[in-house]
């Protein structure tokens, strides 16, 4: 589903990724690790066309991301669920409305998704704060809301950037289980995280692989993880 071929990326002068190549086949489950500032968020942004590669080719759903026009990018994003590291919301809409926003944008707002919404809120433990507004919820609740928003449309690709940074261990386990569930339904999942415990926990439940960014390259980590 996602294919990097010789992709380089530089911010201003400093190069971050240098001729990176890898592929995430449909239905695969990957983690992305690397030290802080190594380029995890940058790589994820490249996947949903928030950044354009300086060189090389990125194919998502088989399409070259560089050839997409603005509406093409919008269409791509409606089929890719992204949990951003800085979870931003519309502060004048309730948490539930924020989570349902992607259904509105893709024109699917209707009975079906409202059913989904309630289930999803229960699963991520946000049923109680569903009618609160984003500035009124805690850091962990924000992160869970961001995940729920990324999943509401059941997108084919799920990209999550540090989805458990502010969340306690039990809740992180729950969210992981949800992602594994979706993976089993055929969704492609990529999770950027620095939490080794989470990666280890996943290993026991799903066929997952770990990508590691090091020295401007993406390496497939061995069995040592």
């Amino acid at each position: 589903m996602i294919e990097f071929q010789g992709v380089s990326y530089t911010y201003g002068g400093s190069s971050l990724l240098d001729e990176v190549s890898f592929a995430l086949p449909q239905g695969s489950f990957h983690f992305l690790t690397g030290p802080s500032g190594s380029g995890k968020t940058t790589l994820i942004k490249l996947c949903y066309a928030a950044l354009r590669a300086s060189a090389g080719q990125i194919r998502v759903f088989g399409k070259d991301a560089a050839t997409l026009d603005r509406d093409g990018v919008a269409f791509l994003r409606r089929n890719v669920g992204v949990v951003h590291q800085d979870c931003q919301f519309l502060d004048h809409l309730s948490v539930a409305e924020n989570i349902a926003l992607p259904t509105v944008v893709s024109g699917q707002a209707g009975a079906r998704s409202v059913g989904n919404l309630q289930d999803l809120l229960n699963w991520v433990g946000l049923a109680e704060v569903a009618n609160s507004f984003p500035p009124e919820i805690s850091g962990g609740e924000r992160q869970r809301a961001a995940l729920a928003r990324a999943l509401i449309n059941a997108p084919d690709i799920i990209l999550a950037d540090e989805p458990t940074g502010n969340i306690d261990w039990e809740m992180a386990q729950r969210l992981l289980k949800l992602l594994i569930e979706l993976n089993k339904m055929g969704k492609t999942v990529l999770i950027a995280t620095h939490d080794m415990a989470l990666i280890r926990a996943a290993k026991t439940q799903v066929q997952s692989r770990v990508l590691r960014i090091q020295a401007k390259q993406v390496w497939l980590a061995g069995a040592d993880l």
Partner: protein
């Protein structure tokens, strides 16, 4: 044409779903509505002023420039014959609307400041005065002069140019001043609404970037904002124009001021004169917001 109106209607009704993403209230609303209202108010006033001075200039122009006088000195021999000759010439001059011999009573009134009400015109060598009122197109003064010289050599033709020029000039300068003010106000209105739209969009930077990130199309995002601000601009302008008309209605009317300055307030259908101000404001708000929204959107990945 029907298509356009339908489209405008659809645009104004909007999409309730898309609508919700724009924060409902806040300082940006007040700013936009007030800017539109203030400028529409001033535009209404300037327009009324321009129109009033326009009416004034027209009046002076028609009263003064369309009238001229032919004078036959009382000392002239055959004054009566000459007068008749003049009247004959005028009857066949194209462009003359009417002419009349100013009668004794009227002359007495005009000379009163000089000789007092009690004067006996018989004693004065008062000339015969013939007032001519032109058609709007005017007549060929040179030709008339020429014909008068031939047929009534004692008649002196006075175009009043000397007297009317400064008044018409002054009225026209006032009129120009009004139009200049109006142009400036419309320009200010455009810039103000543009800046208000920009500031509102900048304040909603996060909303727009979130919408873009979750896959909303540019057109969808822009439309919700453009619609909101167009309507706000319209509402502000309507408020401003209404306040302007109210202010005009409350102005003292010209009344007895001897018609020197016609009232600022329009009459009858004239009250509808500023309907175009909200329309122009709406169009400006529409274009300004669309441009600002598109620029902001294009800056987002």
């Amino acid at each position: 044409m029907k298509g356009i109106f339908e489209n405008i209607l659809i645009f104004l009704i909007g999409d309730a779903q898309a609508e919700r993403m724009v924060p409902p209230t806040g300082f940006t609303v007040r700013l936009t509505v007030f800017a539109a209202a203030a400028m529409a108010f001033l535009a209404t006033m300037a327009l009324a002023f321009s129109m009033a001075t326009g009416r004034l200039a027209d009046k002076w122009t028609s009263e003064l420039s369309r009238s001229s006088t032919i004078r036959i000195a009382s000392s002239t021999q055959q004054a009566i014959a000459q007068r008749d000759a003049v009247l004959g010439v005028l009857a066949t001059t194209p462009g003359v609307e009417s002419y009349r011999v100013i009668d004794t009573e009227e002359q007495r009134q005009l000379l009163a400041p000089w000789f007092g009400q009690e004067i006996d015109l018989e004693l004065l060598p008062v000339p015969t005065l013939i007032e001519i009122v032109e058609r709007p197109g005017g007549f060929d003064a040179e030709n008339l002069q020429f014909r008068l010289a031939a047929e009534a050599p004692a008649a002196v033709f006075d175009t009043h140019r000397r007297w009317r020029a400064p008044l018409v000039n002054a009225a026209n300068r006032l009129k120009i001043l009004g139009w200049v003010a109006l142009a400036l106000i419309i320009a200010s209105l455009a810039v103000m609404v543009t800046l208000a739209a920009q500031s509102a969009l900048a304040a909603n930077h996060q909303v727009i970037s979130v919408m873009r990130l979750i896959g909303a199309r540019d057109g969808y995002i822009a439309q919700a904002f453009v619609r909101r601000f167009t309507i706000r601009g319209l509402i502000g302008a309507v408020i401003g124009v209404c306040l302007g008309l109210l202010a005009l209605a409350l102005m003292p009317s010209a009344g007895g001021v001897a018609g020197f300055l016609t009232g600022l307030a329009p009459t009858g259908w004239g009250w509808l004169f500023p309907v175009w101000i909200p329309i122009v404001t709406g169009i400006i708000a529409f274009l300004a917001t669309r441009r600002a929204a598109n620029r902001l959107l294009r800056s987002l990945p």
